[in-house]
Structure formats: structure tokens, C-alpha cells
Subunit: 411 residues, 2 copies
């Protein structure tokens, strides 16, 4: 069952400029959906470098395996993405399909197959028919252009209720470069699973190992700090392409190059922007929740505590019910397994401190806290009181709509 209405937390798609060295087009291949574009083909200029991060699942999809293998070369000339079928848990047939997809994309791009990157999202366990791509790709390749990016964002959607894009301009050495990104989020089409896909492209000139270091670092505070329901897809894929085609671009080959600082910050901003849009489009979401943890024994410990809070069904249903239920936050801190001392713990909803040093805050006003919970965007802060470790993660509330969307209710 698809959720028809657009998320109340949706944000408008930004104006996205072209990225020099990137051209793309979309097509309707009829993989699962009728009357919508479900294929996204991007071609990259010669010399484009690539970095990627993928699902931690021990049962990854065939395209994830393909991308991991291709990443070793560090060079990218084509990206082929489809929605409607995840090509996951498809055995040898799935591997054959990726091989045929890559050969086909390599042919239209004029490159080697290991310069092709693949991603698929949709039904699991159904064979993905490579002939669908053979039918549309040669024609699609004749239409590639520098925009509009919203078309690409739409082609990769499954049950996302709005297309997701982010863009930044930043100086890198002597060049002014663009970073564009699109993402699809935790959508679900029964009997399938949520998958996060994101593709980011820049016209900066950055060697592949440096690009990988930037992406691996950037993902920690963004895509790896967002959770909808604690479930992890077999297909999660984030790819970053750098064409080097910005006017005046000089290639960065040293990850410690001081010229990278502003670029890294802009990349992080694009990734965080996209990741929060994913949380805004969580299934059934009506509230965006930011969990801030301070005072943990380390940043890693803070992150685990923050995820324990953000993944707690009891915290998330309380948010859905606009209930300032700090007892459930105490519970989630306690179950995280990280160092915590009940008698040093403080909790706030927004600016209202509800608990202090292991007890209800004497100054706490239930009315003020309850009024705050009516906001569409909620910040929950837990101060552990033990150290200097901090973390921020984002999630959404757990509503009856989440159950309806994912339960495919037949009653």
C-alpha cells in the first residue's frame, strides 16, 4: 500500500545548477511501475573519480556487490539506477543481470564495464530483467543533458512522497565548484524493503582515495546519523563522483591538503541536508526529531546513546502522541549499554529541562513541555554528565500510518 499524501515535513526541491562533466537522462522502462520514469542514466566525463559507502548488511544486493568491486578502479564513466526492483536475493540470475547492465551502460558510455556503477531499489527476490534496460538505454543515452536534476530525483523514488535534492557552491583552490546531490529515502512498497540511495556529483578535481576519505568521514554525521525504524536495507548505496571539469580546477591528491577544508564542509552540508530530508520523509512521519546527546564518555558512546533514543519505539510513539514522556528517554539511555549514571542524567525537550541529576526537574512545567511537543520539529537533549562526548541524530515519529504503510493491512 502506498501512502498517497505528501509528508507534512516535506521541503521544496532546490534550484540545482549543472555540474560540469555530468549529463543524464531518465526513462520509463516499465520495470514495475506503469507510466512513470524508473531508470536514471548518468554519464561522466573522462577522468571522473568515484567514492562510495554501502549497506553493512551481510546479505547485500547484487548491485552493491558490483559497485564494491568497481570502486577498486576509482574511475567512473556511467551510473545506472532503477526503481521498482532491488535485484536483491536473486542469486546467480542477479549477478548475470548486473553484468549485462554494466556491459550495456559501458557500450553507450564508451567505457569499460568496471567504470559503470549500478543501484537498484524496489521488490526483493524477484529477478530483474536486463532486457528492460536493453530496450531503453541506447535511446536514453541520446537524450543526456545537464538537467533538470529533479527528474533524476523523481526517477529513483519508490514510496518517497517528495523528491530530495541539495546543492552547494564552494571554492576549492583556484576553482569555484558545485556539489549536487539527490537521494531517495525510507520508502516501502510491499512486499519490499526500505532502501536509501543517494548520488552526489561535483565538478571538483579530487583523486579517488581523497574522495573516499571525504565521503567516509562525511557520512558519519549525516546518513549514518539518520534512522527511521532501525532496519537496514540490503541495498543502501551512497556514491560520490568528481568530474574535475570545473574551470580552473587543480587536482587534489593529498587528503591533508588545507584547500579541502571548505569543500569538505560543503560536502558535509549536502550530505546532512539530504539525510535530514530522508528523515522528513520517513514512512508515516509527522514530526522530525533531533536527538542531541552531550556529556557522554566519548563521541562514539554519545552516538550509540543517541541511536538508542532515536530507535526506541516507545520514544517515537510518545512523540507521535505529543507526549513529553521523559521516562522513556531515561529508559532508552539506560538500555544503550553505554556508561551512564542515573543520578547525573539530565533531559530536555527543546529548551525545557524536564529531568535533572536523576530526578524530575523541580522547576519543570508539564504544560510548557506538552505545548512544545505540538511542534513539527522536536529536539530531545540528554546530558549524560560523565564526559565531553557529543552526538546528534535525526529520526521521525512512529505513527499508525507507519504501521498501515508497512503492514499492508488487509483488514
Amino acid at each position: 500500500m502506498m501512502s498517497a499524501a505528501v509528508s507534512p515535513l516535506a521541503v521544496p526541491f532546490p534550484e540545482m545548477p549543472p555540474v560540469a562533466g555530468v549529463a543524464f537522462a531518465t526513462a520509463a522502462a516499465g520495470i514495475k511501475y506503469r507510466d512513470r520514469r524508473d531508470v536514471f542514466l548518468a554519464l561522466f566525463a573522462e577522468g571522473t573519480t568515484v567514492a562510495g559507502v554501502f549497506t553493512t548488511s551481510k546479505c547485500p544486493s547484487a548491485p552493491v556487490d558490483w559497485c564494491r568491486a568497481s570502486l577498486a578502479g576509482g574511475s567512473a564513466r556511467a551510473l545506472l539506477v532503477n526503481s521498482g526492483n532491488a535485484n536483491a536475493f536473486t542469486g546467480k540470475k542477479g549477478v548475470e543481470t548486473t553484468t549485462r547492465q554494466a556491459a550495456l551502460a559501458a557500450k553507450v558510455a564508451g567505457c569499460r564495464p568496471d567504470e559503470v556503477f549500478l543501484a537498484s531499489t524496489g521488490v526483493i527476490g524477484e529477478p530483474l530483467d536486463a532486457a528492460k534496460f536493453e530496450a531503453v538505454l541506447p535511446e536514453t543515452a541520446t537524450r543526456v543533458a545537464e538537467g533538470p536534476w529533479i527528474d533524476a530525483a523523481r526517477a529513483i523514488m519508490t514510496t518517497d512522497t517528495f523528491p530530495k535534492g541539495a546543492t552547494r557552491r564552494v571554492r576549492l583552490g583556484t576553482a569555484e565548484v558545485t556539489i549536487n546531490g539527490i537521494a531517495k529515502g525510507a520508502g516501502m512498497i510491499a512486499p519490499d524493503m526500505a532502501t536509501m540511495l543517494s548520488f552526489v556529483a561535483t565538478d571538483a578535481a579530487i583523486a579517488a582515495p581523497v574522495l573516499q576519505a571525504l565521503l567516509s568521514k562525511g557520512v558519519t554525521g549525516s546518513f549514518n546519523a539518520v534512522t527511521i525504524d532501525s532496519d537496514t536495507s540490503t541495498s543502501d548505496t551512497l556514491l560520490l563522483f568528481a568530474t574535475g571539469k570545473a574551470a580552473g580546477a587543480e587536482t587534489i591528491t593529498d587528503p591533508a591538503d588545507p584547500r579541502l577544508a571548505d569543500f569538505a564542509a560543503a560536502l558535509d552540508a549536502v550530505l546532512l541536508d539530504l539525510a535530514i530530508q530522508v528523515a522528513r520523509d520517513g514512512e508515516g512521519a509527522r514530526k522530525l526529531i533531533e536527538v542531541r546527546v552531550t556529556g557522554a564518555v566519548s563521541d562514539a558512546s554519545a552516538k550509540r546513546i543517541a541511536l538508542s533514543i532515536a530507535n526506541s519505539p516507545l520514544v517515537k510513539t510518545a512523540a507521535a502522541g505529543e507526549d513529553a514522556n521523559w521516562g522513556r528517554v531515561v529508559m532508552a539511555v539506560g538500555k544503550a549499554g553505554e556508561p551512564a549514571d542515573r543520578d547525573r542524567l539530565s533531559i530536555a525537550f527543546g529548551d525545557t529541562r524536564v529531568a535533572f541529576e536523576g530526578e524530575r526537574d523541580p522547576a519543570y512545567s508539564e504544560d510548557v513541555a506538552s505545548a512544545y511537543m505540538k511542534n513539527q520539529e522536536i529536539v530531545i537533549t540528554a546530558d549524560i554528565g560523565l564526559g565531553a562526548g557529543t552526538a546528534r541524530v535525526w529520526t521521525c515519529d512512529l505513527t499508525k500510518e507507519y504501521v498501515a504503510i508497512n503492514g499492508d493491512y488487509r483488514s
Copy 2:
């Protein structure tokens, strides 16, 4: 908001015989509820030994701290339990309350305070007034009797929709002994948290260290194999008392004593019976789900995979929707972080194998699998195909009612 209807998965309360050396009564102390008994006082014969296991939360309630300290003595003469207030996150006031409760119970039982065991469930962060116990306990102590156990099971309920009890008779050496247990489960009263409490008593004669070994072992496959929503209370408490008053009982002092085998099996059966009743009364539950994992690299690995499946909101919503969605089981196996090989994985719903060696089973009938999902009790089996490790865990489905109960929906 309380759920009014009794769980469709409820089972009848068993006929429970007396346990020699155990006498108890219940009282209405008005801690939170009106017109219902919310206090349970049990008195144990001199010489009663005790064992316990508690929440792993780093923010445990004051009564949990009290019990942990008292367990060191190994001797129990009284148990005092209340519903309506958890005495959790109550700071120094909470500690003072447990001290006063224990002094009071010690007085009516004629024992030392460290022979008193305490448990509380209900509101978190609200001071628990010890005067409520002072008002009722002396009179309650005059009414203690050997039954009925259902009264005790009812007095400890919060949003449980049915009282939970289990009983077994078993031979231990020359004596015929009884094991009686009661439990309360994952109930929730906004703004409070779910808590599991269980109390088991036997008239066997077993030294405290042996009793602790039996309980710690027994809990692994029972209460530690049940999950409602992955959240862990600050107050979870399981206590086992052995009075030694069965006719002809000889004290067992060696954990390797071969006479213990049948007793251990009967104890495990009582614990499992109670634990499954907790899953049957999960908030909003309409289906009981048993997850079986076979072929993992170890039993511990199998347990982690089984819990990953049982805690997955996507698996649980699929069950609610009667959807034979094996892709979500693949996802949950993959995210468990345990050794798994996509191409050796097999999954079955009941007797219907839906996936085999990393692909949809060619013989799989969607109709048969879908029909199976309409049952009230569902078995999901995942064979990892790597080793001999096995595990079983139990959970319930994730329904709109769960969200309604825990979200205290105001709209």
C-alpha cells in the same frame, strides 16, 4: 490510554496449588489506581533461599538496586510488590522509600531488612510515598494465606490484559515439589514504561548459589528470549524463592547434583510458559510470532540473528498485515551483524519454504504462504546454512493498536 479489550492471544490462568512455606495477601493502597488491589505482600518460611535476575539498564529503579544488594545474603523472608508507581528516576527520595518499605516489611515478617525483596512498576519519575505501605501493610500481614495465586497475579498488573501464571509439580530427590510463578508483562500506562516483573516460588530445598545458577541458566531461553519492541525497562525483575518446606525435601548444595535435572527442566518450563504469556500480551498484539534460527555459527550468533528478526519493525508490521514478506526476514538477517551468507540462506513461514540458497524457492506458493500468515500463531524459520547454532525467540506483531496504546494519541 489503557487498552480495554483482553488480548486475543490470552490463555486461561492455571489451577495453582499452594507452595509450602509461602503465604501472601494483596491490598488496595491507592498508589495510583482507584478501587483495585495494587500491593502484593508475600511472607516466606525461615530458611528460604533466593535468586534473582534484573534489567541490564544503566538507569535501574531504586527497588532493583535494593534487591541486588539484598541478594548477597541469599536469604528471603518477605516480598513486597506494588503497581502504579515504579519508584524509578526518583533520586534520593526513591532510596529513602525502599529503606522505609523494607523496614516495614521486615517488621511484619519478623526478619532483617536485607531479607526483604522489593519491586515496583508504574509511573516513572514520581516519588513513591512510603506512607501508602505503612497504612496497609500491618493489616495485610494478618490476612496472608496460601492462595489464591490469581489475586497476586492481578495485583501486579499494569496494562496487562490478563493475569499470568504457570505451575509445575516435579520430583526432586525424595520430595515431590511445586513450582509456582506469576508475571506481569509489557504493559504501559502513559507516561510510564513497560516493565516485566516475575516471581517464582518453590518448596524445594536448594542452596542460594545453586538456585542462582538454575535461574541464570533458565532465563536465557525464556525471559531473555522474548521481546515486544526491543525496549528495556528500568525495573525488570525476576526473583526465585525456595522455601525448602516440601515434605521430605533434602537440601541441594551442589549445582552439578544429578537430582537437579528434572527440577531444572520444570523450572525452565515455568519460566518459558510465563515468558510466552508476556509475548501474548504485548501491547496491541494480535499474533504470537516464534522465530527459529538454525545453521548459525554458534547458539549466541543464532540468538542475535533471531532477535534482529523479532525486533524488526518491518518484520513485525508485515506479520500484522498477514503478509508473507520474506524479503524483510532477509533484511533482518543481514543487519544482525552476524556471519551469514546470502547464497546459503533459507527462510520458511510455518512449513512453507519461501526462500532457498539465496533465491526465492522455485516451489514457493504465495497463496499457501499467505494463507499461513492468517494464523494467530506464526513460526518464522531462518536457516543460515553455516553451522549448528540454533535459537528460538518469541515476539508479537506490531499493530496500529501498539501505536495507539503507546502514543496516547491526542488527535
